[in-house]
Symmetry: none
Subunit: 187 residues, 4 copies
Amino acid sequence: MTPVQRSEASRQAILNAAIELVDEVGYAKLSIEGIASRAGVGKQTIYRWWPSKGAVLFDAVLDRSEPEGATALPDTGDLAADLKLVLRATVDEFNDPRQDRLLRALALEIARDPQLAELYRERLDGPMHERKKARLKSAGLHESIDLDVAVELIWSPLAQRWLNHGALTHAFADAVVDTALRGLQHD
Amino acid sequence: MTPVQRSEASRQAILNAAIELVDEVGYAKLSIEGIASRAGVGKQTIYRWWPSKGAVLFDAVLDRSEPEGATALPDTGDLAADLKLVLRATVDEFNDPRQDRLLRALALEIARDPQLAELYRERLDGPMHERKKARLKSAGLHESIDLDVAVELIWSPLAQRWLNHGALTHAFADAVVDTALRGLQHD
Amino acid sequence: MTPVQRSEASRQAILNAAIELVDEVGYAKLSIEGIASRAGVGKQTIYRWWPSKGAVLFDAVLDRSEPEGATALPDTGDLAADLKLVLRATVDEFNDPRQDRLLRALALEIARDPQLAELYRERLDGPMHERKKARLKSAGLHESIDLDVAVELIWSPLAQRWLNHGALTHAFADAVVDTALRGLQHD
Amino acid sequence: MTPVQRSEASRQAILNAAIELVDEVGYAKLSIEGIASRAGVGKQTIYRWWPSKGAVLFDAVLDRSEPEGATALPDTGDLAADLKLVLRATVDEFNDPRQDRLLRALALEIARDPQLAELYRERLDGPMHERKKARLKSAGLHESIDLDVAVELIWSPLAQRWLNHGALTHAFADAVVDTALRGLQHD
DNA sequence: ACGTAAGCGAGACGGTACGTCATGTCTTATA
DNA sequence: TATAAGACATGACGTACCGTCTCGCTTACGT
């Protein structure tokens, strides 16, 4: 199962090249040939190990994010404040052109390829989703609330607005948190 | 400004071909050459009038959806019920493979191209967004609630889950509505 | 039938590039990509008009040889002397590295591809063969002699020795002529 | 000098595979990878012992033809009849598709590679050439005749016509013999 | 009414990238 | 130490589209 002779040097060169090129030329102009050439690698070495350029990019992001990705969400006891902190950070990330390019490329590829989406859920989104649920749970929400739905209620508006090139501000992040926590119909 | 001699027959043939081809071969394999050939049209006729294949597709969708798109949202007085009705219909739409392919192609192109996103906001999403706000407003929500945020709170989770190839069910639609209306922190 | 829009400039550039490259890198390393790149032409333009690199080379040789190829063989009345003159010239041609490379490439391609051989017979070898027969006929050979066979008897030894990288000298050319004219069994 | 541990089984498998594959896919599509795979052998084992695929093929032909190749030419006392017999057999060989493919591959490789040509002369063509000369000598030709030239006069037309995909018949073989023996200028 | 300019279908053009194949070198594990 | 297996960098293959261009043809205007 595990390849015997696979070159780790080539693998790293390919992942680096992919990330650099997405940043430099954008995802639309990212090509296998470009990655191979930048990485000093034969095209076949890419085709041997990855089924698509999306998969390469995914692996690249995965490879670079795993160490830091394990951190839990802040828990100061003030749910609203903690969520606003996190969502504002996300807003900043989306507003950083380099991050934007990389994340958008990834998101597009996932939206296009169900297999990649599955992999994404398993390896990146799933664990993060669990951490989000854990944070909500520790806030002691009413037990009738479905935490999966709650998480999506809070995080989707940001993602959606980002994908549609809408304006992303801290104020919007705050408003989402406030509205979600309070609900639309309250007395 | 307005083209004098533009052939409406060619325009229609192109838009038809685009929609058919997205359905048949998927957006990734949609090509200008393919559209031109299917439509029995010279490539130049496409390049003359549209800047990108995304724009063609967008026009095609626009052209076909405008008549029906103008309808208002249901307003029976029961906000939760009305929203569930609408969201369930959206779920069904996303779950229909033909609709899925077309809408996904459109969404991807909008996510990729800010200009198209702008056009989308102006022509399709904006008006719909206004209708959604109007429905919420008629429900007499607390005045402190930002209706733009409220709309995104309700509609984003569906769109987001759809893009990520998550399971879309009526139950999920219902849960989103209930959770959003009630809020996470209630007594 | 005749292409309306074919670019004569591209055609010439391709034929030139082919001839230059055969001379520079040899036929084995001649590639369509190389020709296209040297000619400043898209690969498709070559594939559009020629079925193989052999066909390109053939056309190139044809294009350059047609004007001069029409000349008749010398006829001084002395058959032996005339033939020796021509065969010695052929020997010189084969011994010139540039000519050798081009002609060998052509000969190999013809030996490999029956269709090309047919074309070769029609366009280049056939007319030349007729001129050779005409020269022999004017010498007043015995009427029982098959001129086609006679021509091959005289010209094949040179070609064969050349293909097999044997030594090609004027003496050999002379000996072939003498032996062929006199015959092996004479009194 | 002699390899100590060379595997004779692999050698035979490689030569077999080469001959089979030339027959099946033709020389143009013959590849080292194909031979190795068909022979169940590592590519390196081929590269270790042969400099080119032409050399492999050459060895294969050599290996299979040496036993029978040693036979002398017929000598019934009637030179013309004996030569016709031999040349007709050659015609038949060239007209047999399996033989044609193999011999043509070999001839092309020899025409392309002077080193191989040298080897060919030493190992296959040289001995056969001597036998041809011996047969002519025994016929008591005039002493002024160069036997090397005489041999080429008789055998080249067949080979040349074959390479150029001309029609090869027994009649042609007979005509070549008659014309060569009689000579073009006779009384 | 008629020439002229536009839009049109067709498709050639110089390019880029695709995904595949074979090259010849190399490394690993087996016998 | 030769071998079977196969990864590797390289480079060519033949195909698909890109976006631009040039061809004749048709069609509608403006004189």
